[in-house]
Every structure is written in C-alpha cells, then in structure tokens.
C-alpha cells in the first residue's frame, strides 16, 4: 500500500470513528485518565489540575481535527448524564455527617448564604462595570453552582445555558487551582473551613480538589456544593422579580 493510500484509509477511518459515540466517550475517559496519572506522578500540584488539561487537550483535538462539538458530545453525553445521579449522591456524605451538621447547621447555612451571594453579586457587578452584555451577565450569575443546575438557572434568568455551564466549569477550575494560595494569604487554616469555602465558590471541581487534600475538607466541600445548589435554585430566580420592583 502506498503512503498516500494508507493516509486516505486513515482519513476515512477517522471520519467514521469521529462520528460515532465511541469517539467522544473513549477520548474523554482516555484523556482524563492520562491527565490523572500525570498529576499523580507530579504529586498533585494545583496547576496540574486533571480537568483543566483534559478540557484543553480535547478542545485542541476537536479544533485540530475539525470535529464538531455535537458529534463529540454524542459520546461524551454518557459521562455528562452521570452529573444528575452525582448530585443525588451528595446526600450520602451529608447523611454520614448528620450529627456534626445538626450541631453546626446555622453557621454553615449563614456562611453558604453570605459566600454564595458575594460570589454571584460580585461576578455580576464586575461584569456590569466592564460593560458585558446582559445575556452574559445572566450567565455569570449562577457560576458558583454546579454546571447542570447553573444551566437551568441561567435559562430562567435569560442567559445562555451552554455558556453558563462553561463559566461554571471555569469558576470551578479557578477555585481549585488558586484556593490554596488564597487561604494561605488569608491565614485560613482549618481544613473544614477551607473545604467548605472551596465547595461554596467552586462547586464540584473545588470539591474534587478538596477531596484530594483531605477527606474532611472533601466532605465539607460536598456539603457546601449541595447547599449552594439548594440556595441558588431557590433564590437566584427571584432576582428578576427584585429587579422589576426597582424604579
């Protein structure tokens, strides 16, 4: 077989494979496992965040090969679907720590309310000051809530659901990568406080990072993420109502 014919065979194979769900699923799992292994080999430094590098590698692959996002997603949706059961699964760490939570619920609820409101309000305020359009602001508002829930809230607020999901993932990455440095500067030492703050401001990706560092930090991050989901779904859709009361 001549090199040109082999090349043509390869191109045909690629065209076939990249259109099947097999491609998106295999590429996502494969890239993530490689990123995870490299991160572990390096001793889990914050900059080697597996989600960041997996997303960058897959985005580069899609752009370089000209594969449209929908055909990638036709396979990746099987992983995406598990976000729903994962949100349900957050009930498990909550239930395991029910005794602690019964004692500390008021402080945790107040911190979650204050932190969630501060994150959302400052995102919208900074975006507004920088002159971002309204639909981008509405997509920024739920950015501290885990991606599937952020999409629903953004839609209610008149934002772009797909953009809201991407902004939520980027927010998670910012928190997971810079959280440790911020807590050191602020002299926050308690693992539960660090974990809870990570989960409040940067949801599941922050919680995954917290879990890498300490089991207690991970549990409080999971709790914070669950609380944000409940609080944000209840409170953020009220924002347009609030705005309509203003003169």
């Amino acid at each position: 077989m001549t090199p040109a014919a082999a090349m043509q065979d390869f191109v045909q194979l690629w065209v076939y494979l990249s259109a099947t769900p097999l491609f998106g699923l295999t590429a996502t799992l494969g890239a993530y496992l490689i990123a995870l292994a490299v991160s572990a080999r390096l001793g889990h430094p914050t900059w080697a965040n597996p989600v960041l590098w997996t997303v960058l590698a897959l985005a580069a692959l899609l752009l370089a090969s000209g594969t449209p996002y929908p055909s990638y997603f036709s396979g990746a949706q099987f992983i995406h679907f598990l976000l729903g059961p994962a949100v349900v699964a957050l009930g498990w760490p909550l239930w395991q720590r029910r005794a602690q939570l019964r004692r500390r619920w008021l402080a945790l609820l107040l911190a979650a309310l204050a932190g969630g409101a501060a994150a959302s309000a400052s995102a919208v305020a900074i975006g507004w000051a920088l002159g971002l359009p309204a639909e981008v602001l509405a997509s920024l508002a739920p950015k501290s809530v885990t991606a599937p829930v952020a999409m629903g809230i953004a839609e209610q607020l008149g934002g772009i659901p797909a953009l809201a999901a991407v902004l939520a993932v980027l927010t998670g990455l910012v928190g997971a990568i810079s959280g440790k440095a911020l807590f050191t500067v602020m002299r926050i030492r308690r693992t539960e406080v660090r974990g809870f703050a990570l989960g409040t401001a940067s949801h599941g990706i922050g919680a995954a990072r917290a879990l890498q560092v300490h089991a207690d930090a991970g549990a409080y991050a999971g709790l914070a993420l669950g609380l944000q989901v409940v609080l944000a779904s209840l409170l953020l859709p009220l924002l347009p109502l609030l705005a309509s009361w203003l003169p």
Partner: protein, 115 residues
C-alpha cells in the same frame, strides 16, 4: 447488594425528584429533590451499603463528569474572542470574593469551637 443496586437507588431518587419537580412546579431541580429524598431514604439501613458504594464511586471521580461541558468552550470561541478577558476577570475576582467571604464568615462563627 452492590454498587449497581446503589446506582439504581440514586436513579430512582432522581426520577422521583424529577417527577415531583415537574408535577408540583417546585423551584428545585429534580436531582436536588432527589438528594433530599436520598437523605430521608437512608434512614432505611438496607440502603446504606449499596448507596455508599455507588456514591463513593461517583463522587470519587466527580471532576471527570464536568469534562464534556468544559469542552463546550469550543462552541463559544467568538464570544470568548470578544468578551474573554472581561469574563475572565469577573470570574477570577468573584471566585476569590466568594471563597474569601465564606471562609471569613465560617471562621468568625466557629471562633469558640474547638477544631
């Protein structure tokens, strides 16, 4: 009872939550109601082992589940070229504000509590 049973229980809770959210027009999304349902259901001892196995498996790789949505960044390249730096600045600062406020409030409220 295995992790597969646990996954089935999680899916059942999610389905019940989804149904309740739509039928009763509740403001909470289905998976969130499912989470609250799960906490109640866990009073039943027989559910604990399988749910624990499934939940630990899912939550142990929680960050993987965000990859498909994250790759969606390729569909917003025009928007990012136009508004990227401003969106990035808003994201960065507001995430620090959110983390900082949460940590300070919690630390202040727990001042008297032993770690």
């Amino acid at each position: 009872m295995t992790a597969l049973h646990g996954l089935a229980i999680l899916l059942l809770c999610q389905s019940a939550g989804e149904a309740a959210s739509r039928l009763l027009h509740l403001p909470l999304p289905g998976p969130v109601l499912g989470m609250l349902l799960l906490v109640v259901a866990l009073r039943w001892q027989a559910l604990r082992t399988p749910v624990g196995m499934a939940a630990d498996a899912l939550l142990g790789h929680l960050s993987l589940l965000f990859v498909p949505v994250g790759v969606g960044v390729v569909t917003h390249l025009a928007l990012i070229a136009r508004d990227g730096p401003r969106m990035g600045l808003a994201l960065l600062l507001s995430t620090w504000v959110g983390m900082g406020v949460t940590a300070l409030v919690l630390q202040a409220l727990w001042r008297d509590e032993p770690p």
